[in-house]
Symmetry: C4
Subunit: 252 residues, 4 copies
């Protein structure tokens, strides 16, 4: 295998698709949102990217068959903008890998005629929250304005430390290559998988894209997590201590 292998799984014609990226990260917000789109809209895998920058690992599917670590592009035609949805179970494993993989992702997007990119993710607040704001960043002020109109918050010095990983680089490297790219970051505690934060991100994204989906599944999952949070809060009030990272890592 070379440093990268981009496997053509299917040839699909899309009409100036919008790239939507949702890889694993804080609260799995981006990945939940991307998977929701794939569950609710008809689409198919069109490209599969393998790389030695991904973990040296196979996943095992339900039928016992092993699949080499990959990220996948799905073609999703919609009534609004056509989508090219990028998701998977893996992130790059090094700083250099983040740079190199992102360039490869942009190459694929470019070949599909993408000019607009949305990177989805979470921004940790460190505490459980009731209202889920969505923070933004973009490659140009016109895009910032459009996001603000859709309810995205822009706050000085947030997210602190900027945006890291593929989501950040889709803006940083994408902007240099002429893509219009935005990052939509749902606030989330940072402790748990957060379907409510994914919902908040999707509300914004769907308005921007002219797409509408049914949120019943995501709401059900949010209720399950709500119960987990309530149990944690009970433990907290019992022990008067915040749950430690160790208590929570099994949920995240």
């Amino acid at each position: 295998m070379d440093e990268f292998e981009v496997e053509t799984v299917a040839e699909v014609d899309l009409d100036e698709p919008v790239l939507v990226e949702g890889l694993p990260g804080v609260g799995h917000v981006g990945k939940l949102a991307a998977e929701h789109l794939l569950d609710e809209l008809d689409g198919e895998v069109v490209r599969r990217v393998h790389s030695e920058h991904l973990p040296p690992q196979v996943g095992v599917a339900e039928d016992g068959v092993a699949d080499l670590a990959a990220v996948e592009f799905h073609a999703v035609p919609t009534d609004g903008s056509d989508l090219l949805v990028l998701t998977g179970d893996n992130q790059a494993q090094s700083n250099r890998g983040h740079y190199r993989l992102t360039e490869t992702f942009l190459d694929v997007a470019d070949a599909f005629g993408v000019t607009e990119v949305y990177a989805l993710g979470g921004v940790p607040t460190g505490e459980f929250i009731e209202d889920y704001d969505v923070l933004g960043a973009a490659t140009e002020t016109a895009l910032v304005d459009a996001l603000a109109d859709a309810g995205v918050e822009f706050r000085e010095d947030e997210p602190a430390g900027g945006v890291v990983g593929v989501s950040g680089l889709l803006l940083g490297l994408g902007g240099r290559r002429g893509f219009g790219a935005a990052c939509l970051m749902g606030e989330t505690s940072g402790y748990l998988v957060d379907p409510k934060s994914a919902r908040a991100v999707l509300d914004v994204l769907e308005e921007l894209l002219g797409v509408a989906t049914d949120f019943a599944d995501l709401e059900e999952r949010a209720e399950e997590m709500e119960e987990v949070i309530n149990r944690i809060r009970e433990m907290e009030s019992d022990s008067m201590d915040l749950p430690t990272d160790d208590d929570l890592r099994y949920f995240g």
Copy 2:
């Protein structure tokens, strides 16, 4: 030295050999199983792989002579399938190293005419167990069926997180190159070297390969480990605490 050096130690003709990989890992299950085959069946080292992806280290043999870190291929003709057994004291030291070494191993296997690969290892259960199931994964459903017939278990979401390292990549990269590859993973506590788990893996493997060996040595070693476990259990019931990783690391 280049990135890899494949040293030809002996030229041996094998009849469509099956590659059996057992490198160090959880419970040393894979390595114990591979070494058992080498102890009980006649074979010899045919290839030795050195690489800057292995640790910067020499081992010191009983005669005081130093050997550069390596993994070795042994030719093992049998009444059943001929074997090419891959084992050693070392694993790759980086993600990229795992990818690159596995490709090199597959190159060597390919040159010997290998088309079938078994990667042996352990899967940690986190507790001492009485019954040793063997979990599986494979590159294709036909192979999954054959393994299931031989008693291998396939369970949803197990092993959690997939299969990492060379064993996983022999399936992930091997499958892409047309090898039929399977992973046989013996359940094991994850705390101790586990000859019983290696025995369970070998029971399956030997049935699949039409090979039979004498397990007296492995059983003796299993009894020694059983005594260690009993002593640990006594300590546990005294202290009512599970042994910590620190208590146990000297055994594993």
Copy 3:
């Protein structure tokens, strides 16, 4: 993106400029000093360096626009020596990255006709201090003498362990390429952002360069930090414990 990209932001003629480097480090001394020069003297960004050796990250500006991790060269004409000031929010992320980035910085400096380099930084004392000495190191004894005349201290075995990172390599690699380079290291506790230490470094630097700036802003910031230190000292005398790294990391 290649390993490095040096973006030409503006073409400015400088008269044999002196390179002044102040990247993030101990007490943010070098960065504070470099930023002070940029705040007080008229200058502009002339070169921007991106690299996969920098973090895979974008910063988000006040207007919501994302900027790819970079370090920047600013042209600063002065009544004394013209300056080429190198600063930014990022350091290299690996040993090799430090070497490679420093060579790239020296290439840029060389193209501007730089022959003299000052690397600014802090040296940790481990305790809060009243008097801020500036320690030095240089590529040649003539430069050591000039620095000593300007009040720079040279002490046996200090800084212990030498000078690491870009500052050290500007001397180590710069000296090999014929640059006259010096490191000015302000003593600082190592716990907090230290404007007083930056001031001490600037006092020396400005004397050497024949430049004068107004220190009102830096003094104001120093007073704010003085209050933080006083609060910490009160906590110390209450608890009779030194503040831990954890207590302090939010300030540094």
Copy 4:
């Protein structure tokens, strides 16, 4: 700078010199021994190796002048075997760096006509010791025998885990290139700089090389360390606890 730069500092003719390596490591045994040879015998630096595999760092000499991280070869003509002594303040910073640097060192040695290599180091015992045995490893049995005759110990399974880093690779890679190479490892607690262990290693080495030096300086330094150990033992008997790594790290 390229990946490696081998600077020719002086041209000196040596008569089939023996390479003696003593870089920093356990108890600083190898480095102490190499420096003792340089202090007691007349020699001079002939080659200086810089590399991006060394730390990104400069040392600061007593005169304030900075020196880029390096390892140095010293030519040391003696009445016995001429020596090429390799020492410095730095080790490689990665596994790959160890491999690549060692090959570079062997290239330099080869150019000087070296055929025999001694790698000096320490082997940790985990406790303070009275008698300092020297353990060995070598590239061939004839060399093992010669070392055994000089009092070097060869023990089964020692050193546990083999020999790591440059010392190990001088045997592992050197042996493959036809060098006769041996490792002399002085037993040492592993907690402190250990001049006594260095003395034990030198006793063996000098017998093998037909060289004799005055050990007054090393004995003086050993007495100083003996006082440190006695103070630690008093602390131990007071607290009935072994000193922690933290207590001791300032000495090692």
